[in-house]
Each structure stands twice: as C-alpha cells, then as structure tokens.
C-alpha cells in the first residue's frame, strides 16, 4: 500500500509537468484541445495525490508499523480520529497534506463555473501546478512518508499525549488550508501580470478564495491559541513563539490585502500595492510552512532539524524575485485611475489600516528572525521575547481597531468633518459612559481603560450603523424592524459580513485586554483541608487520588470552589501518565464564565506527602475570545455567501489605455520637462454598493 502511495506521487509529478507545458503552449498557441487536456491533467493530479493520501491513511488505520511514519506517530491503541490526525502530525505527512490540499483546490479552481477570469485560468493553473511540483519533489526525494523500515516494530511510538486533544484535529488542517488557499489569489495575480489583464478581473475571480484563505488562517490561529490555553496549561494562549508568529504574519498581510482590493474595485487605486500584498502574503505562507521544519529558530513547534531549509529558501526566492520582477515590468499597466482626494475619507482609513497591518507584520517578522540576523551580523544570538512583541503590537492593534470603528461611518472620497462629528456623537457618548462605568467598578489601568473605550466605541458605531440602515429600510419598504434587519444583511452580504467580522475582532480584543491586564495568579502548596483565596474565590484542597484506567495512570486533585461564602462546585486538575508514552501530561482545570476563567494547574507533590502544589490563575474575559471567534466565522461565511449582483466592468480596457498612454508619454519624453500624473478616468462610485 505504501508503495502505491509513492508511485501515485511520482505519477502526479509527471502529470503536473505535462499539464504545465500543456497550459503554457495551449494558451500561447490558443489551442482549446491542449488547454482542455491540461485541465484534465490538473484533475488527474488531484486524483493521484488523493490516492497517495488514502494510501498513507490506510497504512495508519491498519497500523502498518513497518512504514516508518506510521511507527513514529501512531500506536495500536489510538482512536480513529487521532489516527487520521497523524496524517499531519509529522513533517512528511504534513507536506503530503499540503500537496493534497493544493491539488484539491487546484481541481476546484479548474471545475468552478466562472464568470470572471476565464482567460486567466491557464497561467493561474500553471502557477498552482508549479507550486505543486515543488512539494511533490520534496515528498519524493527529501521527505518521503512512505519509507519502510527493514523490520516491523511490534508497536508504534504513539502520538505525544499533548497532541491528543481536539485541537489537533482542527488546528493544523485549518492553518494548512489557509496557507494553501492563498496560492490561488497569488496564481491569478501572476496570471494577470502575465496576460496583462490588469483591471479588476483577477480580483473578482478570487474574492471568495481570498476570504476563505483568510478565514481558515485566522480561525486556525485562534484554535491554536485555544488549544494552548486548555492543553499546554501555562495559563496563556499566545507566546509569540516563532511558529505562532509565522502563521500570524500572512494573516495580517492577508487582512491588509482583503481591504485594499476593495479600494481597487471602488476607486481604481493601489493596484501595484495589491500585487505586492498578495505576493507578500503567499511568500509568508510558504515561509510559515518552512519555519516549522527548518530548525533555524527554537520553538515548541519546530520539527526536527531537516535538510529541507535550503529547498524552501530557494523556492521563496524564486517566488519573490520572479513575481516582483514581473510586477516591475508591468508597472505601466497598473497606474491608478483616480486620486486620493481627502485625508478624511474611507480610503484614508483603509490606507492607514494597511500601513498598520503591514507594519505589525514587519515588526513581528523582525522580532522573529532577529536571532538569525544578529548572529550573522554580530556573531551572537539575541532574542526578543514576548514583552517586546506585546509593547510594539499593542498600540498598533488598538489603532487598527479604532479604524475599524471609524471606517463604517466615513464616506468614500471625501467626508465633511462636521458630518463625521455628527455620526460619531452617539457612539462616542455611549462608549464614554461605558468606560466610566468600568472605571467606577474598579478598573484603573489607563491603558486598559483606553482600550476598552475604543472597543466599546467600535461596537457602538457598528450597531449605530446597523440601526440606521435598518430604520431606513423599514421606512422605505414598510417592513417590520426584524425583517428589515435581516433583509439589510441579506442584501449587502459582503458589507454586513464585514461588520460582523469586525464585531468578532473587537470581542477577541476585549478578551485579550481583560486577560492581559487583569489576570491574577498565585502559587501555593496546600495540605488537605487548607484553603487559598484568589480574586473572589476561595479554594479548599480536599484530596489527591491516584487511579488507573485502561491506558493511563491518573493523579487527580479535588478542590472545592466557593465565592462570597457560597459553594460553587468542585474542580479537579490532574496529571496523567500514559502507559506507553514516557511523558506526563498536566490537565488543567478551568471553570469558565463570561466574566472570567478560574484556571488551576496541578504542579506537583513530594512522594509520600499529601501536601500538593497548585498554581491558581484568574483570567478575566477570556471566554470572549472564543465567542468572538465564532462570530468571526459567521461574519466570514455571510460575506462569502453568493448574492445576485451585476458584474462590474472589467476595466481591462482602462488598464490597457493607461499603459498605452504611458508608453506614448515615455516616447515623447525628450523635449518635455513636465510629466502629468496618473490618468483619471472618473470611475464613479455613486450608486455602487454602499
């Protein structure tokens, strides 16, 4: 079976190479037969890589321990879901999973019913296939998951018990899907550059892919944070670990990209910037994939030091230099069609938001690779820790949140300041009142107060905007308010989906602010019967017991929780040692409410003594992070939901016009001292989706 998997990959490589040539020659020679064959080739690649994945899955499920990968990551007692999750548990398997996702997405792109972007498909498919070829080469020659041992172990090593948690089932696939899905917009961007179809066509063609990639990546990060919080058990959810950063950076740049393509569609500006952003996003996705397996940076995630580093670096180099070079060649075709008219405009907020997001990503990048740079420059490794990242990114993210609030009430092109003040009055007042209330209730930290105020402001601006929209619709259509509300969302799904996503982000921010500024922790050793008090809780240690289950030995401590004299319940942090795995796992106990989490870690004890050590933490508002995540998902899905709309003008012609004019101008350059600025074609935004 394993051999079948390897052969399938080999055949997939051949099919991919064939398809690349067929697409290129089919497109250049305008041969429909060749193009059709190439498209079939893409589907064949998908089928073959799927066979390969199934082969690995089969080996995992049937416990074929002679396959080295199966022996390394599974054992006979693992349940079915975790056997499947072993597909991405190890380096080789996760590369195969990457290749499979890309092949599937490529097939979907090929089969998608397409209004926009048909002409872009051949070269876009070529880019997708070239990326696929890279991963197939890695799999076939450097990281083969189907290697057989020359003996058959009687038992596998099993999955590290820390990984046997629902997070393992969702976090890697979500992240990997996000990384892989960003290949599609990148492929269409490169195709647009190659074919000189540089209007909005490529953006329209990939809007849903971009959204989906962004959603997968964002949720993958959030699930990872949740998993760290409930399983790794240090009381936190984000440590600015290099691999965490590696998946945050493409998401930040991807967020900037999502916003600035809206600007291109509305006003025809920022075309070069959009290209740069998607190139960066894709490069960072590959970089993120690389970071987990290079051994360059010490991290809790890093797979063992492997020889793959140079391959990835070369690939990223090709991507960056190739696409940026192509961009430079085509820059004449990407002139803006309009100007930025006013600092007080929605364009302005989007622009600042872009600067801040890319700035944050850059700061995170610097901080992450700093040890490598400092070692190269000064011969000594200098690391920057969590405090640096928090201090730099805190203000940036707050500013971004503020912009999210401002943008919904500022008009395009130019907004009058007085109009602005009127729009912001009620949300500002409401937010101030809320901040005052929080202050009265005891919150005194100025930074936290400011942050809460901004979050409240954004929430109120969005709700105010919804209220006004609903009221207008109610007045115009005489629908009742409820129907008007849902009708409003249904008729403007991208817009209201976006608002819902903003609400989700603000909720996540509230969770982060609460748990960062107001968390309390205590370490204590208790004998049975002794108590400790923290925040409003009193915890009394009852007993510590040991018992055996079929697969592990469990040490569990029981404490009673009381607050204000009232008994709330019991809580049981524990540690367990699996029979076949030489590592203990601490299971934290969390008592969660919307206000705060009571979080208890069983630290340890001396043998033969009943005294037991605990770390007790109270984390306020953490639950809002997960609530925000669910709302973010909902908003993203609403935004992606298909909606009947007229297709906007492609504007390829306008781009061609611009390029021709630039060409004319350049050839008349001698003798002229004045250069006119960008061609203004008066793209109208009135009447378009507001």
């Amino acid at each position: 079976m394993a051999e079948l998997g390897y052969i399938a990959l080999l055949l997939a490589l051949l099919a991919s190479v064939y398809s690349v040539f067929a697409f290129i020659f089919g497109k250049r020679g305008s041969s429909p037969a060749l193009l059709s064959s190439a498209r079939n080739g893409m589907l064949v690649v998908c089928g073959l890589v799927s066979v390969s994945v199934l082969a690995l899955a089969y080996s995992l499920i049937t416990h074929d321990f002679q396959v080295e990968y199966v022996a390394s990551y599974t054992s006979s007692d693992m349940s079915f879901p975790f056997l499947i999750s072993a597909l991405w548990a190890g380096n080789d398997g996760s590369l195969l999973f990457w290749a499979w996702l890309l092949a599937v997405f490529g097939a979907v792109v090929t089969l998608q019913k397409r209004d926009a972007g048909r002409e872009l498909l051949p070269y876009a498919s070529t880019v997708i296939l070239l990326t696929e070829i890279f991963f197939l080469i890695l799999l076939l020659f450097v990281a083969n998951p189907f290697v057989r041992l020359n003996f058959t172990p009687s038992e596998g090593q099993g999955l590290n018990p820390l990984l046997q948690n629902p997070g393992m089932l969702f976090h890697p696939p979500s992240l990997l899907s996000g990384y892989v899905a960003f290949t599609i917009p990148f492929a269409f961007a490169v195709s647009a550059l190659l074919t000189r179809r540089l209007g909005d066509e490529w953006i329209v063609a990939v809007r849903r892919w971009t959204l989906a990639a962004w959603l997968f990546l964002g949720l993958g990060n959030l699930i990872g944070a949740w998993w760290a919080y409930v399983e790794l058990g240090w009381g936190g959810y984000w440590a600015w670990d290099p691999v965490e950063n590696a998946s945050l950076m493409p998401w930040l740049v991807g967020t900037a990209f999502l916003h600035s393509i809206m600007m291109q569609r509305r006003r025809g500006i920022l075309k070069v910037w959009n290209m740069v952003l998607i190139i960066l996003t894709f490069s960072l996705s590959i970089f993120g994939t690389f970071l987990t397996r290079s051994g360059i940076l010490s991290s809790v995630h890093a797979f063992a030091d492997t020889t793959m580093g140079p391959f990835f670096l070369v690939f990223i180099g090709i991507i960056l230099f190739g696409s940026l070079g192509l961009l430079y060649y085509r820059s004449d075709w990407l002139k803006s069609e309009a100007e930025m008219e006013s600092v007080v405009s929605r364009e302005s907020t989007f622009l600042i938001n872009n600067l801040l997001l890319v700035g944050a990503a850059f700061a995170i990048f610097l901080g992450t690779v700093f040890p490598v740079i400092s070692e190269a420059v000064r011969g000594v490794k200098i690391t920057v820790g969590a405090p640096w990242f928090n201090q730099v990114n805190g203000p940036i993210f707050l500013a971004i949140i503020l912009l999210a609030g401002l943008c919904s009430l500022i008009g395009w092109r130019r907004a009058s300041v007085s109009n602005l003040m009127r729009n912001f009055l009620w949300p500002m007042v409401a937010a101030l009142i809320l901040a005052l209330v929080i202050f009265i209730f005891g919150a005194r930290q100025p930074y936290a107060l400011l942050a809460f105020f901004l979050c409240a402001f954004v929430l109120f601006t969005i709700l105010y905007e919804w209220f006004r929209g609903t009221k207008a619709r109610h007045n115009i259509r005489s629908e009742n308010y409820l129907k008007a509300f849902f009708g409003l969302i249904g008729a403007n799904r991208p817009r209201y989906g976006g608002y819902i996503v903003h609400i989700g982000i603000v909720l996540i921010a509230i969770g982060v602010i609460g748990s960062s500024f107001y968390n309390v922790e205590k370490e204590v050793t208790l004998k049975p019967g002794e108590s400790v008090s923290i925040a409003s809780y009193t915890l009394t240690f009852e007993s510590r017991d040991t018992f055996q289950t079929q697969s592990k030995t469990v040490d569990s401590a029981t404490l009673t929780v009381a607050s204000g004299g009232r008994l709330l319940g019991k809580i049981t942090p524990s540690k367990f040692l699996q029979n076949n795995y030489d590592q203990a796992v601490t299971e934290v106990a969390i008592r969660s409410s919307l206000i705060e989490d009571l979080y208890i870690i069983l630290i340890g004890w001396d043998e033969g003594d009943t005294a037991t050590s605990f770390k007790v933490i109270v984390n306020p508002l953490v639950a809002w992070m997960w609530v925000g995540g669910v709302i973010l998902l909902m908003g993203g899905l609403i935004s992606m939901w298909p909606q009947q709309q007229r297709l906007p003008a492609q504007n390829n012609e306008e781009a061609k016009e611009s390029a021709r004019k630039v060409g004319d101008r350049k050839s008349q350059q001698k003798g002229r001292s004045n250069q006119r600025g960008a061609v203004s074609s008066g793209r109208s935004s009135s009447g378009a989706r507001r």
Binding site: Q157, G233, V300, M340, V392, I396
Partner: protein, 132 residues
C-alpha cells in the same frame, strides 16, 4: 495617486512612530542567547543580565523540592561537558525531561547559579525511540 503631500507626510509619521515603538521596547526585552560554554567563557560579564542558555540536562540529575515547585538541575554543554547549576521555581512544562536538550531563560547569579524564569523544551520524544 497621492497628490497631496500630507498623505506622504502622514505615512512617514506613522512609520517613524512604529520605528520608535520598536526601538524603545527593544532595550528592555533583548536577551542574549548562549550555549553553556559561552556563558562560562564570558564569566562575570553576564552576571545579572537576562540570558537564554541552551544546553543538555543529564539523566538522573533533576532534583524536585517543595512539593514540585522548585527544581534544580545542571545544564551541561553538549561538547565540552561543562555545566551550570540551574534553579527554577514554578510550573515545569510537561515536555521537560532529564536526558533532553533545553533552553532556560533567566539571570545568572554571582554565585554561579542560574535562576531560571522560563524553561523551553522541544517535543523531543517524537523522533527518538521510546527507551523502555
């Protein structure tokens, strides 16, 4: 596209602000990363400053006291065999185990003992056979 200078100025201001933020936060957060023998070679010049030290924890060398809240172990250099005694108070990560490589972050005291605030490990036993 940016006809008005104020866009350019605004953008530059934002970038400068970010740069300033990054620079000022750096002073307090920069941490040197050394191997064990490098720390010993530097001697007293690194006492008192925040460091990360990478090394190996020998088998059977970990002493746990205070009902699990304090652990002591030597961190040794992989090549030269030199070691520094480490004392750590707090929650020990599950993946910490004698016989593996580890990175500790903390401060070297004048008595030569390293007071660790953080212990970082990799997921070691994934790639080595479980020694039964």
């Amino acid at each position: 596209m940016f006809k008005k200078k104020r866009f350019l100025i605004g953008g530059i201001i934002i970038l400068l602000a970010l740069g300033y933020l990054g620079y000022t936060s750096f002073a307090g957060a920069a941490t040197y990363y050394y191997k064990v023998n490098e720390v010993l070679a530097k001697g007293s010049s690194v006492i008192g400053s925040n460091l990360r030290v990478e090394g190996h924890v020998p088998l059977d060398s970990v002493v746990r006291e205070s009902a699990g809240r304090l652990i002591k172990f030597p961190i040794t250099d992989n090549t030269s065999g030199q070691s520094i005694p480490v004392v750590y108070q707090g929650v020990v990560p599950d993946t910490f185990k004698a016989g593996n490589d580890v990175v500790v972050e903390g401060v070297l005291g004048s008595d030569g003992t390293f007071l660790a605030q953080t212990i970082m490990t990799k997921c070691p036993s994934k790639y080595e056979p479980v020694t039964q």
